[in-house]
């Protein structure tokens, strides 16, 4: 049950990323090109995705997940330097190549060697993240 639901969720996610154009780095960079020839189409992706998700959060209140267990903890509201710095680093990489983590995985079958190289580099970055976080904490403590 859990595995089937996870596969279904991943499949819907992948289908949406494929159809929306999120795996097309030219479109993503065109959307991020707010100071140039801005392509607004991808704003509809985020807008469209938030609608069913907002309904799901409403439905989750006072219920239990279908496959058992519990729902995630309530949203945190603390804004730390890790959140900001990490997001800035992520955004730089996103602008540089036009891929974020979901589309990088979704395009595995047609992304070629470049897509595979991106995934391996992304995994390496993920492994380096805990050490980087500690370094950032030190810098923040000194500042």
């Amino acid at each position: 049950m859990r595995l089937f639901l996870a596969f279904t969720a991943g499949g819907l996610f992948g289908t949406g990323l494929f159809l929306s154009g999120m795996t097309d780095t030219r479109k993503v960079q065109g959307w991020l090109d707010v100071f140039g020839n801005w392509d607004p189409a991808l704003a509809f992706v985020m807008g469209g995705a938030i609608i069913p998700m907002a309904i799901a959060w409403r439905l989750a209140a006072g219920r239990k997940p279908l496959a058992g267990g519990g729902f995630p903890a309530p949203a945190r509201h603390d804004i730390g330097h890790r959140l900001i710095t990490g997001s800035v680093l992520f955004g730089m990489g996103w602008g540089l190549a036009g891929l974020c983590p979901g589309p990088a995985m979704a395009s595995l079958s047609y992304g070629g060697w470049g897509g595979a190289l991106f995934l391996v580099s992304m995994a390496a970055g993920m492994l380096a993240a805990p050490k980087l976080s500690v370094q950032l904490d030190r810098l923040a403590a000194r500042a």
Binding site: G10, L19, G47, G91, Y110, S121, A124, A128
Partner: protein
């Protein structure tokens, strides 16, 4: 293409539906960097099979769609290996330091009015926009 925004909206609704299934079904937040990151660094070992099932769907459905709509199956990714490696490292490290990416902070966070999700989204879009502006319009390299 003029119908781009319709594809965007339709695709977006499916992405949100995926997130809804993962939340209401398994009680989990659909964050791509977290699902993969937990496998990469071993922190998500307890839920490894669930993560792998999610990634299997995420990879296999586009593979099937590629055969139906080959025109959309092109990432147009740069062929500059140094750029790809730098971007991958930044995306991997950044999303794990910030504990989320476009799906986790963006879609799942904003939809429950999470301040962290909204702040993260503002910063990664700003950073992405500035990166494209500098590299495309100031330096002319992408």
């Amino acid at each position: 293409m003029q119908a781009d925004w319709i594809w965007g909206l339709a695709g977006g609704l499916l992405i949100g539906l995926g997130g809804a299934v993962y939340l209401l079904g398994n009680g989990r937040i659909m964050g791509a960097s977290g699902i993969l990151g937990g496998l990469v660094d071993g922190s998500g070992r307890d839920s490894a099979r669930e993560r792998l099932a999610f990634i299997a769907g995420l990879v296999l459905l586009p593979l099937a769609l590629m055969l139906l709509i080959p025109a959309k199956a092109d990432t147009h990714l740069t062929s500059n290996a140094a750029v790809i490696i730098a971007a991958g490292l930044l995306v991997g490290a950044g999303t794990r330091v910030a504990n989320g990416c476009t799906s986790g902070h963006g879609v799942c966070g904003i939809s429950r009015f999470s301040l962290r999700g909204m702040v993260a989204t503002v910063f990664y879009i700003l950073a992405g926009g500035l990166t494209v502006a500098v590299l495309r319009h100031a330096l002319g390299v992408i």
